[in-house]
């Protein structure tokens, strides 16, 4: 995570000067985009399924208490334990308590944004438990002590050369800078951890209420390993991840991977229903489900309700002209990209996104790409509006826009002001444009020109043209 004490503007500028990052982002997002387009291109029923998926999300929220009650009852009926966390601190305490009671020393983690959100790894380390990330991308960034830069491709900002150097330094293994070789090394290192681990920690892509099933979607197999081998399984999920039935689940599975990576289905969809059953050789003895609030419940009736539909597929990152330029780290929080701004506001309060709410062109490409058609631009505009209403914008900006708004509502004043503006702009005009403005107005012209006020306005010309 880049340092939040640095203003977003500077974090973004830093990312823009990182030539490798820009190149990597461009290659990755372009590829994901093409794969997604092809996947839906060959799947005509996809558009209808997206509408159905959106409706299921909304319908589920309308009876969220009922579906969560069913989920809890069914998980418990199968011998699982359910815990309730309002804050990240509570969620961490719950996991630490389970770790203590089960005598856990080593925990393997399957990729989970919810655990990133609650900073679980640090807490585990403090408590003497070693957490090992097992998704290859997450493993790389854990070794590098960094944070994910993309929801589904956490290490896209690293070259294979950098990964080889990292493995040499951290694992004491000299290896070629070759993706296949590096992956094999990671397999060996992590296989050993999987077999020794006491606890498997996962998120949940979905949880099916009617059957009490936790659903994990992975490509590498880390989700299967973490739920099959260790003797304790802890799954941490946001309350909005519940879906009513297996029939509903299939609708989401049909569009999730297509949106994320362009696959028809990810390699492994793992459905777990409680701990190991009698007669079963493998699977955990204990299963714990942690239901996480962390700002979500407040949004059931809040302005960000629609963001609770999010499947965390990452499609909106890949199409976003801002994300594609600056990458995930510059956003500064767990969730980057267009949806990330909304989720940051949800988790950390609206004040945290007073700058980020402007890190969007409002082009709407995110809503087009979103498998459940979340209207991200609408909510970004509302966040900007409430930012102004709460006076979080600088007073100079507010004063200028207030004056401008007045001017626009008074035609007589506007007509008077036009020749004045022409006079005032004279020292700054180059050709028909203003490349640089003084004082705080200079912020505007830092990265673009302002068109000059025309020598004759339209209404002046209209007088001559009118027959």
């Amino acid at each position: 995570m880049s340092d939040l004490r640095t203003p977003f503007r500077e974090r973004a500028a830093g990312a823009l000067h990182d030539r490798f990052l820009k190149q990597a982002l461009d290659i990755a997002t372009t590829k994901f985009l093409a794969l997604r387009r092809d996947a839906f291109g060959q799947f005509p029923e996809g558009e209808t399924l997206r509408d159905r998926a959106r409706a299921i999300k909304e319908a589920t929220l309308q009876r969220l208490d009922h579906h969560l009650e069913r989920l809890v009852a069914n998980v418990e009926a199968q011998g699982g334990h359910v815990h309730y966390a309002t804050t990240p601190a509570e969620a961490r305490d719950i996991v630490l308590d389970i770790a203590r009671k089960s005598g856990t020393r080593l925990a393997v983690k399957s990729k989970s944004m919810a655990t990133e959100e609650i900073d679980l790894n640090e807490a585990l380390e403090h408590a003497g438990v070693t957490p090992v990330e097992t998704d290859l991308g997450e493993y790389i960034i854990q070794l590098a002590h960094e944070k994910p830069s993309h929801i589904i491709a956490p290490a896209i900002h690293k070259t294979k050369g950098q990964v080889a150097e990292l493995f040499a330094r951290e694992l004491k293994r000299e290896v070629a800078a070759d993706a296949e070789v590096l992956t094999r090394i990671a397999r060996e290192e992590l296989r050993d951890k999987f077999l020794k681990a006491d606890m498997g920690i996962t998120g949940a892509n979905f949880a099916v209420a009617e059957t009490g099933t936790i659903v994990l979607v992975t490509n590498e197999g880390n989700g299967r390993m973490a739920t099959s081998l260790p003797r304790v399984h802890v799954a941490i999920m946001g309350v909005e991840k519940v879906v009513p039935s297996m029939t509903d689940l299939m609708v989401f599975l049909a569009i999730l991977a297509k949106s994320a990576t362009g696959q028809k289905l990810s390699v492994y969809t793992t459905l777990v229903q409680g701990p190991r059953r009698p007669g079963e050789l493998e699977g955990p003895d204990e299963l714990h489900l942690v239901l996480l609030d962390n700002g979500r419940i407040r949004q059931i009736a809040g302005p960000l309700r629609e963001a609770l539909y999010c499947l965390r597929c990452g499609a909106c990152l890949n199409v976003c002209p801002v994300y594609r330029q600056i990458g995930g780290h510059a956003y500064g929080y767990t969730y980057p990209g267009p949806i990330g701004i909304l989720l940051t506001a949800m988790l950390h309060g609206e004040k945290s996104v007073k700058e980020l709410a402007h890190a969007s062109t409002l082009c709407g490409a995110c809503a087009d790409a979103c498998p459940v058609r979340i209207d991200i631009s609408r909510m970004l505009i509302e966040l900007r509006q409430s930012g102004v209403e709460r006076r979080t914008a600088p007073w100079t900006e507010r004063a200028v826009f207030r004056a401008f708004a007045r001017l626009l509502t008074m035609p007589r004043l506007y007509r008077w002001a036009t020749p004045l503006a022409r006079l005032a702009q004279r020292p700054f005009v180059r050709g028909q444009r203003i490349p640089r403005l003084p004082l705080f107005f200079g912020q505007w012209t830092k990265t673009r020109d302002l068109p000059a006020v025309a020598s004759r306005t339209f209404s002046e010309r209209w007088k001559d043209l009118r027959p």
Partner: protein, 252 residues
């Protein structure tokens, strides 16, 4: 049940209900309609497919190969050990772990032995206490080939569905580098939607004895593109998945 967090279930749900009361929601919406009698519907699907399974199989083959799977077809189950032996030999392996005959539908132990393979059959139920289970798991991890059945084969996506349980432990299809799944027309379904009907059916009424706690939908070999988007196979799971379709019903 332990209640270690400082939020109780009652308080947690009270807050959810408080918020729900404030809004009717964004628009009128319903969830997906569930089949009223999924078991019966699943049987109907199976019956209908028994007439046109060759097309479904062809679609499965195409999609399975597209996701990087190796497809094979044999006439009878007696041909399976020879094929498994060839797959093993070509990859320098000779240790095979297999599902228990009751789970697989057929006993291949002697057939595999006749082919010079060292086979280890999973116990029908349980696996003793902790240390015994660990020892068995280490043997699974040391094998080159995991031989399993498949409960469903989804044509639309080229996926194999494996339900865990007695005689069919989870890691047989996970730890060995080569996974070989044997199935017949009984397992074929056309689409994810049809697979959903079976998922509903499996949960209708009390669980069958011996059924395990996990369902795995497997779509090709384990893969990653996390380093410079280079597609690499066999990260944590198998690097190759072989599907052997048997023309004559396996259970005879």
């Amino acid at each position: 049940m332990t209640q270690s967090g400082s939020t109780t279930k009652a308080a947690f749900f009270a807050r959810i209900r408080d918020e729900m009361r404030k809004t009717p929601g964004l628009f009128a919406a319903t969830t997906a309609p569930r089949p009223p009698a999924p078991r019966r519907l699943a049987e109907t699907i199976r019956r209908e497919l028994s007439e046109r399974w060759p097309q479904t199989l062809e679609r499965f083959r195409r999609e399975f190969e597209r996701v990087g799977g190796d497809f094979h077809r044999v006439a009878t189950v007696a041909d399976v050990p020879g094929l498994v032996a060839r797959i093993a030999r070509e990859r320098g392996g000779r240790r095979v772990v297999t599902w228990h005959p009751t789970a697989l539908g057929v006993d291949l132990t002697s057939g595999l032995a006749a082919q010079g393979l060292e086979s280890l059959t999973m116990p029908a139920a349980g696996g003793g206490d902790g240390p015994e289970r660990t020892a068995l798991r280490d043997k699974i991890a040391a094998a080159e080939i995991g031989l399993t059945g498949a409960d469903l084969a989804i044509a639309e996506t080229g996926s194999l569905v494996l339900v865990s349980g007695g005689g069919r432990p989870r890691s047989t299809a996970l730890l060995p580098p080569y996974h070989v799944a044997v199935f017949d027309r009984e397992a074929l379904v056309e689409s994810l939607e049809q697979a959903g009907v079976f998922f509903e059916a499996w949960h209708e009424g009390p669980a069958e004895p011996g059924r395990g706690a996990a369902i795995h939908v497997i779509t090709g070999p384990s893969r990653t593109a996390d380093i410079e988007l280079t597609l690499t196979r066999g990260v944590h799971g198998p690097k190759e998945v072989h599907a052997i379709f048997v023309d004559a019903p396996i259970r005879g």
